[in-house]
């Protein structure tokens, strides 16, 4: 069990910068989720920690010890590869016990202990009937679970899981997520878990690290990321549909209050944010609004109308819906309940946005003015 720390880590592949001064800490026993689009550098982070890729610059500390120059076999970390990386010539059972039979761990467990350890894990992952097969004979989802099992049979300092449940069908994924979380809690092993799916990140992680183009955009709990996204990119990565960003809106002062006003659009700006805007003397700002924070008003609602638009298109998204509304020259996405069919296109619609739910970004740096 150990605390992990990266300090200003840089990783270059030739001239390409894969990781750009990445720094973060993971506490002993903590579960950190790394969220980012494909190609953001998630896999690279895990690989440099595992030691299969060297770092170009920076410090890598595990349990207070600098492990940057340590061979992977001595780092005592277990990794689940996104590509599964099973051993094609070995049976599923031999694949899973392979790490337990390594020269470093040999003879710490007897054959029967190995068997029961494998049995326990494969039971949980529902692959116990596949143990005699070869990896080629398995489906993608089954291979992914074998790869997960090969890591989970170990009791390492650190689990590194690279999208370990991404290729499973929805039912299994939902069943497995809490199981994984439980097992991790029980074992108390520090864990890094990557995903491209924000729902998964919000659902599983205590803390979430948002990664984009090799840079750490923000680290925080789900609540922090939601309430104060550090930049427009963070906002765009969270939520389905992603955050609405209205570019280049001009704040205006009227009767002692500051407003963001545009055609069909008028939102008050809170005191704190007004202060920030004035400190920086910004004449234009980018405004972010989560689609779920926009309230569609019925005619008898008492809320103040902050926004008027015309319905453009409605997309059902399963458990919820996404309504596109034309407001002036912008299109706002609004999250609705499922089977939202009360309105028809081109119909006028009134909306309410609370001033607390408005995120204001500096248009040049795209960073949140209340944090950066």
């Amino acid at each position: 069990m150990a605390k992990l720390e990266l300090r200003e880590v840089v990783k270059k592949y030739g001239e390409v910068i894969a990781l750009d001064r990445v720094s973060f800490q993971v506490q002993d026993g903590e579960f950190l989720t790394i969220l980012g689009r494909p190609g953001a550098g998630k896999t690279t982070i895990l690989k440099i920690i595992a030691g299969v890729e060297p770092i170009t610059q920076g410090k890598l500390l595990l349990g207070g010890e600098d492990i940057a120059s340590l061979s992977p076999e001595f780092r005592d970390v277990a990794m689940v590869f996104e590509t599964y990386a099973l051993y094609p010539h070995l049976s599923i059972y031999d694949n899973i016990v392979f790490p337990l039979r390594s020269p470093l761990r040999r003879r710490t467990l007897s054959e029967s202990e190995l068997k029961s350890r494998v049995g326990e894990i494969t039971e949980m992952l529902q692959i116990s009937d596949l143990l005699d097969r070869k990896p080629v004979e398995l489906s993608g989802g089954q291979r992914q679970r074998v790869s997960l099992a090969r890591a989970l049979v170990r009791r390492p300092q650190l689990f590194l899981m690279d999208e370990p449940i991404a290729h499973l069908d929805a039912k299994l994924r939902h069943g497995l997520r809490p199981e994984l979380r439980n097992l991790q809690r029980r074992l108390g092993v520090t864990t890094l878990f990557t995903t491209t799916d924000y729902m998964e990140a919000l659902g599983i992680g205590e803390r979430i690290l948002v990664l984009n183009e090799g840079k750490v955009l923000q680290i925080g709990t789900q609540r922090e990321l939601w309430a104060t996204p550090a930049s427009e990119e963070v906002g765009e990565l969270l939520g389905m549909p992603p955050m609405n960003i209205i570019k280049g809106a001009s704040p205006r002062v009227k009767a002692g209050e500051m407003f963001l006003a545009d055609s069909g659009f008028k939102v008050k700006i809170g005191k704190k944010q007004r202060l920030r805007i004035e400190e920086r003397s910004l004449t234009k700002v980018d405004v972010g609004i989560h689609p779920s924070e926009i309230r569609l008003l019925q005619s008898d609602d008492k809320y103040e109308v902050t926004c008027i638009g015309r319905i453009y298109v409605y997309e059902p998204l399963g458990t919820k819906g996404s309504l596109s509304v034309r407001v002036g020259e912008h299109t706002l996405k609004v999250q609705t309940e499922a089977r939202f069919t009360k309105r028809t296109p081109e119909e006028q619609i009134k909306m309410y946005i609370n001033e607390r739910d408005i995120h204001i970004f500096d248009p040049t740096t795209r960073k949140n003015i209340s944090t950066g």
């Binding site: 299969v52 076999e73 780092r75 099973l86 051993y87 094609p88 761990r105 080629v136 291979r143």
Partner: protein, 282 residues
């Protein structure tokens, strides 16, 4: 139906084209010296085992009785066996690490190195062989097994390296990385994961390399004396001033052919298994 019969006809024609010379040599080995040189050639003749008795057992029929004569074909055969096995073993031993490095690592002028290795096979052997002759005399490598094994590396090493390089490259790097993370040293990973995965490819490559070495003629002819002469150049021994022993030469040629033919039949299956490597993608 028509297409099928055309196909069969084409296959028959190709079979005749390739097998006829072998068939002819086999016939020749059962003919008397007079029948061999008769024109037009005879397809039906009186079978004789004289050539075989002479080449394999060293018994010559004088008309009244068998007389013991000197025959060295089996010794040459053994020489070929030693040289071809030794060359193949050395080429695999040296070639596997080279191939692995070329497949996995980046290093200075890697592609130039790989191409230079391949280019050893471009120059005609005849250009270098006489220079090699005097070098070999001085280094006392002339007419030694080790000398032949070394010179055959020119033929085999580029082949082994280029073949095995592509096989190693087919193993996903992450499979090897997984083994390292699972607690194995580089050597542990190589012996437990990498080698078992390329085993069929190593077998197929070795067999082809063995055949290359076995069939080699020129270096064997120029760089050996009688002691370690391989079987291929030894066939020329049946040509002398007075006469050409066609029947005995044909017999010796058949004997020399056996390993290549057997191995070719054997690798057919193995090479297909080795080449269709798709199963590796785990």
């Amino acid at each position: 139906m028509l297409r099928k019969s055309l196909r069969i006809m084409a296959i028959v024609l190709i079979m005749i084209w390739t097998l006829f010379p072998i068939y002819w040599v086999i016939l020749m080995s059962f003919k008397t010296p007079i029948d061999v040189t008769t024109y037009p050639p005879k397809f039906i003749f009186k079978l004789t085992l004289d050539n075989w008795a002479n080449v394999l057992l060293g018994k010559e029929w004088t008309g009244t009785h068998y007389e013991t004569v000197k025959t060295d074909i089996l010794r040459y055969f053994k020489n070929s066996l030693i040289i071809a096995s030794g060359s193949t073993a050395l080429a695999i031993f040296l070639g596997l690490p080279a191939a692995y490095s070329l497949a996995r690592y980046k290093f200075f002028r890697k592609e130039d190195f790989a191409f230079t290795l391949l280019s050893f096979r471009f120059a005609p052997a005849l250009v270098v062989v006489f220079g090699l002759y005097s070098v070999y005399q001085r280094l006392r490598l002339y007419d030694t097994y080790i000398g032949m094994i070394i010179i055959h590396q020119i033929l085999l090493l580029p082949f082994v390296v280029w073949m095995m390089r592509s096989y190693f490259a087919m193993i996903p790097a992450e499979v090897e990385q997984a083994a390292r993370v699972d607690g194995y040293s580089w050597w542990g990973m190589f012996s437990k994961i990498t080698l078992p995965l390329v085993k069929p490819a190593v077998a197929a490559t070795s067999v082809v390399a063995f055949i290359y070495s076995w069939n080699e003629f020129l270096y064997g002819y120029v760089l050996t004396g009688d002691k370690v002469r391989p079987v291929t150049p030894s066939l020329l021994g049946f040509i002398s001033y007075e006469r050409v022993l066609w029947g005995q030469m044909a017999t010796a040629a058949i004997v020399a052919m056996i390993p290549s033919v057997l191995l070719s039949l054997f690798i057919q299956r193995y090479v297909v298994a080795g080449l269709s490597f798709g199963a590796v993608r785990g």
